[in-house]
């Protein structure tokens, strides 16, 4: 059984992002990038499934410019067997990503596709669901636990009300939540060895997918700033101010 994991290169979650002064977007030049954190959970889960003997191969795929290879390398360093890089496309929308992944799935024929539940840059939370629909597969979104049976997966999902358990027949798409697992850290020898693992290159043209955007980004702005607050000296003052100044209690 093969597992395909989709990984995305995003601005590192620790970085304070800056909106460009011309409102055309967020500053990404010279900014530290890393693998989207929920994608790390997806990679980790894929590796655990392989280590349990259920799958023989894990493939990581990323879609983006040249530097997306760094993200694939991170996955390879964690233990993924090989990578696929769909090159040359920049800022692709989830729908186009799903279509590209559909083509990759048709080539590679995995039984399980894992993705992070949302990318921390555009926060769309769509790609996994779209891919599943295009493939006509089942989906287990916001997964905080994945248990595999012979021909089905039992997914525990994190929903607003609490937890929900569903049983999905293979093949499945699952999107991973941060609580799914603790992603492993790659050791240095594995990081160095990852450079030798194969990465296949494709372009969206080769795959026959039109990635032109459907959504026009008109502008990107900063959210309104809050007024600066004050420090209070003690609880009594806090309660007093909440009652009489803010009238919040």
């Amino acid at each position: 059984m093969k597992i395909l994991v989709a990984v995305k290169r995003v601005i590192d979650y620790n970085v304070q992002i800056r909106v460009k002064s011309d409102s055309t977007g967020v500053e990404t030049e010279n900014v530290k990038m890393s693998m989207n954190p929920p994608d790390e959970n997806a990679v980790e889960e894929a590796l655990r499934i392989k280590e349990s003997g259920v799958a023989e191969e894990v493939i990581a795929v990323s879609i983006g410019e040249d530097k997306a290879k760094e993200t694939i390398r991170t996955a390879l360093a964690m233990g993924v067997d090989r990578g696929i890089h769909v090159k040359g496309v920049h800022d692709v929308e989830p729908l186009a990503v799903a279509k590209i992944l559909q083509k990759i799935v048709e080539k590679e024929k995995p039984q399980i596709v894992l993705l992070g539940k949302q990318a921390i840059d555009d926060d769309s939370n769509q790609t996994g669901q779209m891919l599943s629909a295009l493939l006509g597969w089942t989906q287990g979104t916001f997964a905080s636990k994945i248990e595999l049976e012979a021909s089905a997966a039992i997914i525990t999902r994190e929903i607003d009300e609490g937890l929900e358990k569903v049983k999905l027949s293979f093949p499945i798409v699952a999107t991973c939540d941060l609580r799914l697992n603790e992603p492993r850290y790659a050791s240095l020898p594995n990081i160095m060895k990852a450079k030798k693992k194969p990465i296949d290159d494709y372009t969206s043209d080769e795959l026959g997918i039109d990635v032109s955007p459907r959504i026009k980004q008109l502008k990107v702005t900063e959210p309104p700033k809050r007024e600066k607050g004050i420090m209070v000296a003690n609880v009594a003052e806090l309660v007093h101010k909440l009652k009489h100044e803010a009238k919040a209690i």
Partner: protein, 825 residues
């Protein structure tokens, strides 16, 4: 709710509009500076930080506290810090997270061990404890270290690592407790010099008028300098360190109550490693780390890290895994890639800015966590008391000149980074950015086999490789391949005549109706009385220590020509300009770039000169320490009868465009006298034989001129001069040092280099300031400073050279031609 206020435990602070000092920059260096100013009693001091404290480079520093530093001054700054940080918790109630786990530096080659032995001498003289370890002892302390290939190590028991942010917050608390104020999220947008020589610091929250400004802005050093027209020689370089997840072996040690293993430095593989939260940190200093923030960080930058590049660390990672196998077994939690400030030589710049009154610089810190303590301390003294107490030459901002352009800095600072762990040979010369400043005769010297080095950007011939010998240097702590050739240069100067290019000398003319009284106040010696006479003069600092040495030649009643060492051009000229009266009665003219200097020295010098010049070089007409306008070949030149090598000789100070003509004329005519060029290394050997002193070694602000044997050049009764009163007080208190010349016995392959500790029995009674083999007297010599009671001629002491103790005998100064018959011939 809608007020722009600073928060501090619920107490509101409004920014002052006036203060005695404004410190720009809230990293560990700025906060330490603020703290030390406040500690010296100046509570009306403020610090302005554009974002949050530590948000530049301090926050991502690995926190190591290396005591190790080959420099006498930097070593003292580091020592102060390590001692001082230990006291901060008690003083401020804030834990600084100082793990005193010791620091071990490994050695795999003999040269590296030599470096450590040389360093051990420096350590002894400044009171830093260092132990030598055998490989077995290394294994005891660091069981997880693979000792294959190691021949030894040195250990600093007293150092370790600290938490940079906690340290800074503790210093901030200490500063605030003493009345200082810190304004965060306040951007300095300009610094204006007021007419009364005070400053106004302009921020986005208002202006602060002040007497002193201290620039501690880290990665923004050049931007801050630009605000006052300074070209600050600092550009940061990227540095990475890798943090791993915990390893069971290290966790086991902790459970067993075993001590943390200490900071490990594999110097020959250029990396450091220490324990961190049950795992390890590896920090390599690789080649090819790029300079960063070349035009400063962006205006929004804070807590910024760069994209990591483990590929360029690959060889260091492999070496680390080899040396500490468990390092390869654990996962990488995080790689930090952040900016560290650098200067062309890797030491920070701490001291006054040139050309600006009361503008101070505390920048370019590559070991900022360690250096912050000492730099803040000395800068505090410099600002409050007027002078530092330790010799700060090694970190003075004026040790670089105009040649340190932005493009130069990129190359040189990247090189300084890559060389953090290379062996710092006493004779090392680094390649980047060279050749840059060249005297006209550069190519000619090259043809003669010159092997060049650099000083203050100038190419200078260190020695000459004769025909058949490769023009390649050979660095060592011991006598090496060039020893023989330098010896031959010296012997030729002694027997015949030699030619030395000293164009790099700093030169200026002081003129005007006020020139004489100005200079008289500047130096401790009397000025030459007659036109054409030359005196050796010294400028003292306000505490009476020796700051500069000048050759002063009187041209006329209102014009003096002044020469000093090339390395100190910016320092010496800045000092002069600082003290010049503002009423235009004194004019300063820099002549460094328009006058070349060639030195002719040796018994045949007079014969040679009579062939190329129409002037009269007889002793009656051209006595020692006089200067005249002459011709050399067809070229005009000033000839000054003096030299630094103790032979019959002249210095030719000529308009620079004539240099090659003069050079060719001399070399051609000199053929019959066996004229050969000689280099700086020969000069150093020759001068040691004459007990001639250099600023920075035999002379410094830590020594009064009397201690340095400059009695003849100090006239306390001539009237007032800078430092006179302090010197008189010092004299009354009593001097602790006396300069001695030493003959070193039983030297096989290593002469004293300087900083060697001198012992009487077990007691350290002094240190060597310099040393060399004297080819003319055929003895290994050293010059040093010892406690006066050991300075009697004939005393037998002992001195450590690279771990071996040698008997040394105090001999009379100037062992070669002690009566100076040759120079006055």
């Amino acid at each position: 709710m809608i007020r722009e206020v600073q928060k501090f435990f619920g107490i509101l602070i409004f920014m002052k509009s006036k203060a005695k000092v404004v410190v720009v920059g809230g990293g560990v260096v700025g906060v330490s500076t603020l703290y030390h100013l406040a500690k010296k009693g100046w509570s009306d001091v403020v610090l302005v930080e554009r974002k949050e404290l530590t948000s530049g480079s301090t926050w991502h520093a690995a926190g190591l506290l290396p005591l190790f530093n080959m420099s006498y001054s930097v070593g003292q700054l580091h020592k102060y810090a390590v001692d001082f940080y230990k006291t901060l918790e008690e003083e401020t109630g804030q834990n600084v997270g100082f793990s005193v786990v010791s620091n071990i530096r490994l050695a795999t080659t003999q040269d590296r061990m030599d470096e450590y032995r040389q360093y051990a001498g420096v350590a002894k003289t400044i009171g830093v404890e260092v132990k030598f370890l055998t490989p077995v002892q290394i294994k005891d302390i660091w069981p997880l270290c693979n000792i294959d290939g190691l021949i030894g190590a040195i250990q600093h028991p007293a150092d370790g690592y600290i938490q940079p942010a906690d340290l800074t917050q503790a210093l901030a608390k200490g500063a605030r407790d003493k009345g200082a104020e810190i304004y965060r999220n306040t951007n300095v947008i300009g610094i204006k010099k007021n007419n009364d020589e005070t400053w106004t610091v302009e921020t986005d929250k208002g202006e602060i008028a002040c007497e002193h400004v201290v620039s501690c802005s880290g990665n923004f050093a050049r931007q801050t300098g630009k605000m006052v027209g300074l070209d600050v020689p600092v550009i940061p370089v990227e540095h990475q360190y890798i943090v791993t997840e915990p390893h069971p072996e290290i966790q086991k040690r902790k459970e067993q109550g075993l001590p943390e293993m200490g900071v490990l430095r594999d110097s020959d593989s250029s990396w450091y490693m220490r324990e961190e939260a049950g795992g390890l940190i590896l920090g390599p200093y690789e080649k090819d780390a790029p300079a960063c923030y070349i035009d400063g960080p962006s205006k929004d930058s804070e807590f910024e890290l760069f994209q990591e590049d483990l590929d360029r660390l690959e060889s260091h990672i492999e070496s680390a895994i080899q040396r500490v196998p468990i390092f390869g077994e654990v996962g990488v939690k995080k790689t930090y890639n952040g900016a560290i400030c650098y200067t062309p030589d890797g030491s920070p710049i701490v001291g006054p800015a040139w050309g600006l009154k009361n503008f101070w610089i505390n920048e370019g810190h590559s070991f900022g966590i360690t250096a912050a303590g000492g730099a803040g301390w000395q800068l505090g003294e410099w600002i409050v008391d007027g002078e530092p107490t330790i010799d700060m030459m090694g970190v003075d901002p004026r040790r670089f000149g105009d040649y340190a352009t932005k493009s130069f800095l990129i190359k040189k600072n990247e090189e300084a980074y890559a060389n953090v762990f290379t062996i710092h040979y006493p004779d090392e010369e680094r390649e980047a950015g060279r050749p840059l400043r060249q005297a006209p005769c550069y190519d000619r010297l090259k043809e003669h086999g010159a092997v060049f080095g650099q000083k203050f950007g100038w190419e200078r011939a260190n020695w000459f490789a004769p025909k058949g010998v490769e023009r390649i240097d050979d660095w060592s702590f011991r006598r090496s391949k060039w020893f023989e050739h330098v010896g031959n240069e010296c012997k030729n100067v002694q027997a015949n005549v030699g030619l030395l290019d000293m164009t790099a000398f700093a030169k200026c003319r002081i003129s005007g109706p006020g020139a004489e009284s100005f200079l008289d106040n500047l130096v401790a010696n009397k000025l030459p009385k007659k036109n054409g006479r030359v005196n050796l003069c010294h400028a003292l600092n306000k505490n009476g220590g020796v700051l500069s040495e000048y050759t002063v030649a009187k041209e006329s009643n209102d014009s003096y020509y002044i020469v000093s060492a090339g390395a100190f051009q910016r320092l010496d000229h800045d000092w002069i300009k600082q003290w010049m009266p503002k009423d235009r009665s004194v004019t300063f003219e820099n002549l460094t770039n328009s006058i070349g200097v060639l030195v002719l020295a040796g018994p045949k010098a007079r014969d040679l000169m009579s062939k190329v010049s129409s002037a009269d070089f007889s002793n009656e007409k051209f006595p020692w320490l006089s200067s005249q306008k002459i011709d050399v070949g067809l070229a005009p030149s000033i000839a000054m009868r003096m030299n630094f090598v103790g032979e019959l000789g002249w210095e030719f100070h000529h308009p620079i465009e004539y240099q090659n003509h003069i050079f060719d004329t001399l070399m051609e005519a000199g053929k019959e006298f066996n004229l050969k060029p000689f280099g700086i290394r020969a000069m150093d050997s020759l001068r040691i034989e004459k007990t001639y002193k250099l600023v920075g070694t035999e002379m410094s602000i830590e020594y009064s001129p009397f201690e340095s044997g400059l009695d003849r050049f100090v006239h306390l009764n001539k009237g007032n001069f800078i430092g006179r009163d302090a010197l008189v007080k010092w004299q009354q208190k009593g001097f602790q040092n006396k300069l001695v010349t030493l003959e070193v016995k039983d030297v096989k392959d290593a002469d004293a280099l300087g900083n060697n500790p001198i012992y009487k029995g077990d007691k350290v009674v002094g240190r060597a300031t310099g040393g060399n083999y004297g080819f003319r007297v055929q003895k290994s010599l050293a010059i040093g400073m010892v406690h006066p009671e050991y300075a009697t001629v004939g005393s037998i002491l002992s001195m450590d050279i690279l771990g071996t103790l040698h008997d040394v005998e105090v001999i009379k100064a100037s062992p070669y031609d002690p009566d100076n018959n040759l120079i006055r011939a």
